[in-house]
Amino acid sequence: MKRRRLKPALTAWIRNLSLRHKLVATIMLICVSALVLAGATFTAWEWVSLRRAMVIDLSTHADILADGCQAAITFEDSADANEILHAIAAIPSIQVACVYTSDGTRFAMFMRMDTAAPIPDRSHLPQSHRFDRDFLTVVRPIMLETEQIGVICITSSLDPMNTRLKHGLLATLSIILVVSLGAYLAALRLQRVVSSPILYLAGVAHVVSEKKQYGIRAEQHGTDEVGLLVQAFNEMLEQIQQRDSALVGANEQLEARVQERTAALSTANEKLTREITFRKRGEQILKRRTQRIVRHQRTLAKLNKGTNDDIAAAMQTMTEEAAQTLAVERVSIWFLSEKPAALVCEDLYKQSENTHESAAQLRAADYPAYFGAIESSRIVAANDARQDPRTGEFNASYLKPLGIVSMLDVPVRLHGKLLGVIRCEHAGQPREWSLEEQDFGASLADMIALRVEANQRRKAERALAKVNKHLAETVRELRRSNKELQDFAYVTAHDLKAPLRGIGTLADWIASDYGDKLDEEGQQQLGLLKGRVSRMSGLIDGILHYSEIGRTAKCREQVDVNKLLPEVITQLAPPNHIVITFEKNLPTVVFERVRLLQVFQNLIGNAIKYMDKPQGHVHISASTDEGIWTFSVADNGPGIDEKYFGKIFKMFQTLTRRDDLESTGIGLAVVKKIVELHGGTVTVEAKVGEGTTFSFTVPKQDAPSQARQDNPDVSEAASTSARSSE
């Protein structure tokens, strides 16, 4: 840590050092490092070479000794070998010398007294030499011709070498010291050659920068780099002198501009500040507005929640809430009345008094401008009600006495129709109606409209229910009276028959008992009486028949018309001149069998009864249409005039005189009743003199056997005639 902080400080110190010192230091650094390097190299070299020389030296000695010991070993004379080894004692550095034979035994040894060197171990001898800490051990083989007969090993102390090295090092160091001193002295002198002109130049530059005297010039001594520098410096000074004067001018200009800019900036700043305050205010307004909207919404939600049926109470709540929410003095709801065109106050709430009023009236004739305004616009927001052309009319009568200054009138509309108006009136200071307040008013108006509509609907529903109830009662009554009537008809007819039969019997008795006593006229009148009685009986039967229909509801069944018709014809027993034919493959319909029989009986019977042609023909056919069967009974009888078509189906109506043909005039009525009871209709087509066709319809029902209906072919069923009615 400390070193790290020290390093930049050191470099800074070096950077700030005088040029003179830097030069000297550089020279010295180079000198000393070169010297040290040389000295180190020299010492290292000496160390290496000393070691090598020592090894060589010692090896030589060992070789000599080895040679000397050769014969001694050969002839196993260790005494001689010892003697030879002792000769080495002359070399003081040698501490130990040993001879080993090739079988490993120590043959001879020399060891200096008081030596610290160990006796080398035969088994750990180096290959040629080994440096220990203080000793060098050299090993040489002892050869006899080509055979190695043993080894010699000499250990020498390294002390002499170390001493020599030490001396060498000392000498080197002292040389370095002396030479460095010399170099320093020389450098001190010689650096001036380089440094003095630069220092001179630096001095001049200092003076110039200190005193700002750009007129001074440096003296040039030579043409070397320093000379060039001096020259360039002088030129620079000249330029600076020129620039300086220019700069002074520019500076003045600049200052003026700065002042200008500062002024502009301060004005801009002011503007900005103003804008910021404006923005802030806007923000506040927005916030207030949002709060207001929230309040409005809450009120609306509250009002909406109230499901009060009582519209008057609902209006009161509304006016109260509106007055509180909008903080206005008066809130009122007015409904439009048609005649006379006026606004009638439904409810007026005064906040200061907390009272409700109603029943005031504003006539359209009195305030045409105001009525025009509420008729045409969505909202009438009069900030200054007294001056506003729409509300100015109220000025004298209304605004001034009540102290009202601002008005917000929102027309209430339902399906585009003006229904009334909600009015908020503010007293005191004039007030500006904000958009959201207007919106709130509009919402209120819509709510009132909805309320009114709901109210109306509820009223209508209630009325409808009442009407329905009444209707149901009527129907029930009607049904009862109808029944009573039917019963009455039946009972009447039934009861009438008994005395009638008595009259008939009595007439018969008169005819049989007193016939011979009566004259011709009496006889004739008695015959008339009998005729009238039988007609009366027929009429009563007819009424009975008619009233029976519908009284007794029988179950409907599948009726095969193909089988039914022959039965009808047999019962009628037509006279010979009348041929009755019917279509093959007539359908099977769902009907009360007896009634259908009655229908055909009546229709065919009529045709037979009124037949006026010598060759009468009655044809029954059937056709199908969508969902219905149409049966037709056509004859070639007298036909019926079209004007009687409506008449013939009514009860007791006959077109012929009663006396011509015995007819009750009830048959077609019965047919009509039966057919209509079964959901069908009866129609008639006729041409006077040519014939009549009665048709009736039977609705199709899901019956299993209707396969035959599809056949459109008309084929003669009856064998008696081949003539078609058409």
Binding site: A71, F75, E76, D77, D80, L144, E145, T146
Partner: protein, 230 residues
């Protein structure tokens, strides 16, 4: 019981065996060790004696001085009753001066004695003997030393013996025992006479170096006559 008796028997047998063999080994060894050393010394002497005949073999050189033939083996002759036994077997294959070594044995003079016990003055295999490089004269030949040494007096044959007084008779190297060690003494004059140069190293080791012998006078005489002739 059984085991114990067997064990005791085995111990007895083994101890007897050890004793017997030990004895036999010792009986053979004592002379053998001495002569094994002497045999080795015979080999080694060749290396410390310089002579043209003893030179190491060289390819280029022809038959330089006639007798010296480096490619031929070094011959070691053993004259007389051989005391070495198997000692040379251990040295078999060992080369001296890069030359193989062959040991030749010669019977002693006694073997050639006639009925009267008189020995011939000249060995029957004298020529072969003279081919040898080293000649060991056994103790059995002591009476015949003069007859042996005289003919080869000037021939480069290294004569070795272990007989006291051998050097004085004209032998070159004589073994003796000192401190239970085999040592030797050298007669330099005899060697010089035979033109054999004994190295200083060897001389250093000699217990005694003899510089004159019975032949010295004769030598002097011969030198004188040679001088006169020249």
């Amino acid at each position: 019981m059984m085991n114990k008796s067997v064990y005791i028997f085995a111990v007895l047998v083994m101890s007897w065996l050890a004793f017997a063999t030990g004895r036999t080994l010792c009986a053979q060894e004592t002379p053998s060790k001495e002569y094994r050393i002497k045999a080795a010394f015979l080999y080694n002497f060749v290396m410390f004696v310089d002579s043209s005949r003893f030179q190491q073999p060289t390819r280029d050189e022809g038959e330089g001085e006639g007798e010296a033939d480096p490619n031929k083996p070094i011959l070691i002759g053993v004259l007389g009753r051989d005391p070495f036994g198997q000692s040379f077997e251990a040295l078999k294959g060992r080369q001296v001066r890069n030359r193989p070594v062959v040991v030749r044995r010669f019977k002693g003079f006694e073997a050639f004695a006639d009925a009267d016990g008189r020995t011939p003055p000249r060995h029957p295999r004298q020529n072969t003997i003279e081919e040898c490089h080293v000649l060991f004269i056994c103790a059995s030949e002591k009476p015949h030393l003069k007859n042996i040494l005289d003919p080869i007096r000037q021939r480069p044959i290294l004569t070795v013996a272990d007989t006291p007084g051998f050097l004085e008779t004209g032998g070159m190297i004589n073994f003796l025992i000192e401190d239970k060690k085999v040592r030797f003494e050298i007669n330099t004059v005899a060697a010089e006479r035979a033109k054999l140069q004994i190295r200083a190293k060897l001389l250093r080791l000699a217990k005694r170096v003899v510089k004159n012998d019975s032949n010295s006078e004769r030598d002097n005489k011969e030198r004188e006559t040679e001088d006169e002739e020249t």
